[in-house]
Symmetry: C2
Subunit: 765 residues, 2 copies
Amino acid sequence: MGKAIYEKNDIKLDNYNLLVDEALFHNANGYIGVRSAFEEGYPENFKTIRGEYINGFYDFTQTEQAENIYGLVHEKQTMLNVADTQSIDIYFDDEKFSIFEGTVLKSKRWVDMDKGITGRFVSWRSPKGKEVEIKVIRMASFYQLSLFTIEYQIKPINFSGDVMIESNHNGNVKNFFDPHDPRNADESFQYLTPESCYIQYGASYINSHTSKSGLEVCSCVKNFLSGESERQFIINESNAQCQMSTIAQPGKKIKLIKYAVFADSLRVENCKVTAASEMKKALSVSLQELYKHQEDYLAEYWENSYVEIQGDNELDMALKYNLFQLIQSVSKDEYGNIAPKGLSGEGYEGQYFWDSEMYIQPFFTITNPEITKSLIAYRYEILDKAKENAKLLGHKKGALYPWRTIMGKECSGYFPAGSAQYHINGDIAYSIIAYYLATKDLDFIQEKGAEIIFETARLWMDVGNFYNGQFHINDVTGPDEYTCIVNNNYYTNALAQYNLQWAVKLYFQMRKLPEFRKMQKRIKLSYEEITEFKKAAEQMYLPYDEKLKINPQDDSFLQKKHWDIDTIPKKNFPLLLHYHPLHLYRYQVCKQPDTILAHFILEDSQPQEVIRNSFAYYEKITTHDSSLSRCIFSISASRLGLEDKAFKYFGDSTKLDLMDLHKNTKDGIHTANIGGNYMAIIYGFGGLRIKESGIYFAPILPKKWTGYRFRICFENRRIIVGITKDHCTFFIESGEPIAINVYKKEYLLDGKLTIHRKKTLRRED
Amino acid sequence: MGKAIYEKNDIKLDNYNLLVDEALFHNANGYIGVRSAFEEGYPENFKTIRGEYINGFYDFTQTEQAENIYGLVHEKQTMLNVADTQSIDIYFDDEKFSIFEGTVLKSKRWVDMDKGITGRFVSWRSPKGKEVEIKVIRMASFYQLSLFTIEYQIKPINFSGDVMIESNHNGNVKNFFDPHDPRNADESFQYLTPESCYIQYGASYINSHTSKSGLEVCSCVKNFLSGESERQFIINESNAQCQMSTIAQPGKKIKLIKYAVFADSLRVENCKVTAASEMKKALSVSLQELYKHQEDYLAEYWENSYVEIQGDNELDMALKYNLFQLIQSVSKDEYGNIAPKGLSGEGYEGQYFWDSEMYIQPFFTITNPEITKSLIAYRYEILDKAKENAKLLGHKKGALYPWRTIMGKECSGYFPAGSAQYHINGDIAYSIIAYYLATKDLDFIQEKGAEIIFETARLWMDVGNFYNGQFHINDVTGPDEYTCIVNNNYYTNALAQYNLQWAVKLYFQMRKLPEFRKMQKRIKLSYEEITEFKKAAEQMYLPYDEKLKINPQDDSFLQKKHWDIDTIPKKNFPLLLHYHPLHLYRYQVCKQPDTILAHFILEDSQPQEVIRNSFAYYEKITTHDSSLSRCIFSISASRLGLEDKAFKYFGDSTKLDLMDLHKNTKDGIHTANIGGNYMAIIYGFGGLRIKESGIYFAPILPKKWTGYRFRICFENRRIIVGITKDHCTFFIESGEPIAINVYKKEYLLDGKLTIHRKKTLRRED
């Protein structure tokens, strides 16, 4: 699978590209994330988002509302930039190393997706003529999540003399503040205050606390320099600098290893003690062994996540790069989740959205289900907060998950496109069911999943009402934020129906299990409620237009005005930055395809004809102003046999970050787009569906490709799927034989199965 | 008509009541307003909203939005507190006069509605035993709008000695800031900066400028003390104190007259020069003559506004108090309008709303039409700003009046219950047509009114769209803010239809007039547009439910949940302070009766049966959380022959301010409630309607009353209407004979007409 290295040569030194590279080459392991700023910094007038982040580690920040309306959000959470451990300054005699001075003879940066490291190489001639080669390897360890390492190699070429190294550990940090970017609305406030800074056993410690959330973080840094001749520490209350000296000799490598570990009070009792023990653990093996562990971890990850595009190497590499970002970004415990920018930047303030469940989790569910479990555990962790949120919005029962959050409280300041997106409840329920269908892990459902499904189901009963024999859900916002606060959003209602159906199913499936009964008692779930769930699900109103034979996005969508997208000036996209919400709400125009997404994930709820008509209808009016849009069109086009369209929509978006297509990769990589892209291959081209009735495939092959292969994990089986020009092969690597459905025909998969690939596909046929 | 004096004895000295009295006894003339704080102030720990305001004189204030959404309001306007000219401190030897010390032997405050003055009388014994009577008369002159006077009389009873008077003129002022009141969201920022303070010809001048709006105001104060022995001024950059001495002798009155005038750069070129000439003008006649002018002005006002309730003196007095507040509050020029709190407080920041057109203007239109003209002229003045506002909201043509404003730019921070209230366009058009129907003043319509009607009509064409052969208006908010951003709000559509119909009518009526043709050319109004107006008006979609035979408030109102108002705990009203908007939007619950209001003002657009059914339907679900609600129910109940209900809804609301029923009179009096109350008598009980086809009456008599009489002005005629137990009499005081319609029968009114009063009334009969 894929080329293991993404490499950039002749690094551009303009500020914009440096910011993009900070994100592209960041190191993360789901716990810590470190943006790849240069250790030695940039010129003074350059902006840098020089951040190190801990997943889920936040402070509360104030947010003003223009009018004092009941229940609006006045306090958000923001992921904090914690201590800077990446700074290293080098002096060759009186010359400070900086590639903004002197001459760069050669430079490159890379990410090695197999080794789990990033690298930088510079061949540099100082203004006074000293030539030196510098190579830096960085790693955020998957083996030890608290650990970030920098291996800094200096090779003097044509000189000898004193080398002085200042390795900094700086607790005086702020979040990045760019007043011109609406997505980073924070003020430049120091949320994190260092309260102690000390040296212990040769390591520096900085312990800081947050301004309002009552959290604490301790970072510990230790430096090892080969041939070290002298060392001293210069410390103040927020900063520890380790000054080391050595001697340069032509051709002789000097090596500095800098270990940094973090401990935070979300996860541990005593941060200082934990930081010390984590540092001890890190130093208990060699750096080479740590690299080996990293490689082993990733070897397993790549095996699980195997996907290979044949005939398009560049795409294949980009895909590998992307999936590497997912494992870098996703939390490995229940205190965090996966943010839209992962741990690579401060966009969206590190909060978690529906992106997790609907775009990213599907990848993990069929490749690394343990991670999905952890993501669901996070939602379980904040279930009480979701119940409080439901109360705040006037609901008498149930849980309403916040639209954006870190610790469980709502962070969306503009509720019509935020808190009103009740579909997040359905999204979370859907993703739990998807986990269950792919794993049949009833224990976990019993332990955590079912309770979420019941509490979200309860909420639908409170938000909706029966009217004329149908169950209506009024005044919510669907995923498409270009129409807000609508009645009977198709997507929302379809997911609510699914949520309710599964609450009923799980109840009957598990009602006799003792653990389940305990939970049922605890949450006071009555049989009458189940009956109501059933009734509401059966009578759920799903908008349908007889004339057009499509599902309208909501009750009144079709009576809105038409707006020919082709007539809108290019500079006016994305529309949300150029038109008042009321204007957008009044048109049949979509940021992303609400109904098409529902048709993808719940395809059996509508006849193929309706799905086909809807695709054609919404395609014309969708602007794709959201990076979550095109992948869904691609998947649906595959389903409908529109192979060229499917590939067109799939298009370049695999390279969205690598090519900075949205011009905001500097704020962080796009995790949901990556997940959507993966889905476009597996669910789209591969036609994978996992339903209660079994597992389905209906592969197509993009014309540009010679083939593709992927591995999935299904009910503890590992299955390899390969598509070539003429054949589809299925191979069961481990686990019991199983019936699979390919092109609507059932086969027993026991070993290897080869089927002729259908060349044209109209799914309704 | 009515008792001329509203009086309060034994003034309560607790802080809350003092704040209420500041509003109740404030002096205003539509240009300046002065809250009645004590001249000598309160104890230090007391709050005071010690304000002096100029109608329409504002500064820009920042308002934060939680998310950076395109087009939201970031800058509001707030009416400024200008220089304090009401401070007077009195020292009897070493004792400072303060009724919070010593003993109050007697105290009272009053408003004399005939004389146009307020008074305060205190009989006081100082801690050391000095007895003194103090009487203060204050006036905001209608004769000279720039002028506010204080006549301060001191009568020493049992002592003699030195009296020192410090009369202050203080430019160091801020707006009131109460962080606990959502309606006063301003920060405590000094918007007004004094730039010069000087003495000239014995008067002090303070000239100040605003922080952002580029406006300037100059105040000038001059003091005259009887028996003055010594005088000196103590001034600094923002404050001028005039210290005067005299001698107290038992029984001998000491009199101080303090004149204050204001000039502002909205209205005059040079504020300092104007302030000086206004002071000169004020001093060119005696105070007694100024009082006489005031009385003359009000005599005419009371004659025009004559309304008398027989059999309920208290109500009659309250009514007179209320109408006095209207003439105090309403601007006499096009630079101001009438704010919800008039000039009596800072509630709603002195901005103007639809209250003007729909609740207050109807009173002026039929009693003092020149004032309505001025209110319309204000809307004409800000027409260009309304066009800019339309552009901001994405409209390609027309004008969209801001929901709340001072100088024409939108001030509503929360657009779903603000800018989305497009009905304000219809309200303004309706009020202009009402003015036209009552006056037939085609000159003014040609000069200003018609252009507004065309530009608002144009907007409807851009906001709405034809769908299935009907004209729809989507995504607007009606007057009832408990459901926001809805499709086809009945009220909005009905008014839009009326707006469009009249645009067509006026076009055909005036198209040959030369002035009209000039305007038509200037605004590029084409015949094709008129044709479109006509088509949209004819095809306007007005929601109607076949089953219930009512007009639903909007397309989806009836599918919303029911909420039995009786089950809601009392403490949870008003609902908007206790429930999230999304919760409210999801229920059939009304803050005020949208559709009922439309049925009142456009009663011929629906059959009586639909109006009756709608009344019954909405009555059950309306909370009257708005002070604009009950009066409309009262009017409609009168119309439907529900006499007891009509009187019940009319109820105590005439005393809303006098009895501080809403517990917020401290923030200012409620001008729209006053207007609504007046309408409940004239349009409700009296059944007055002025239509294109003529003038209609259908009087009923509340059981508690023995009769009532009122005068209206109609097409330059003055008509007195009197209702007694058995008769209705109509008397034409001036003007040509005219046909009037009483109880659906036409009569020629030429002199006096007496008709038997109908005892029961079902209007559809």
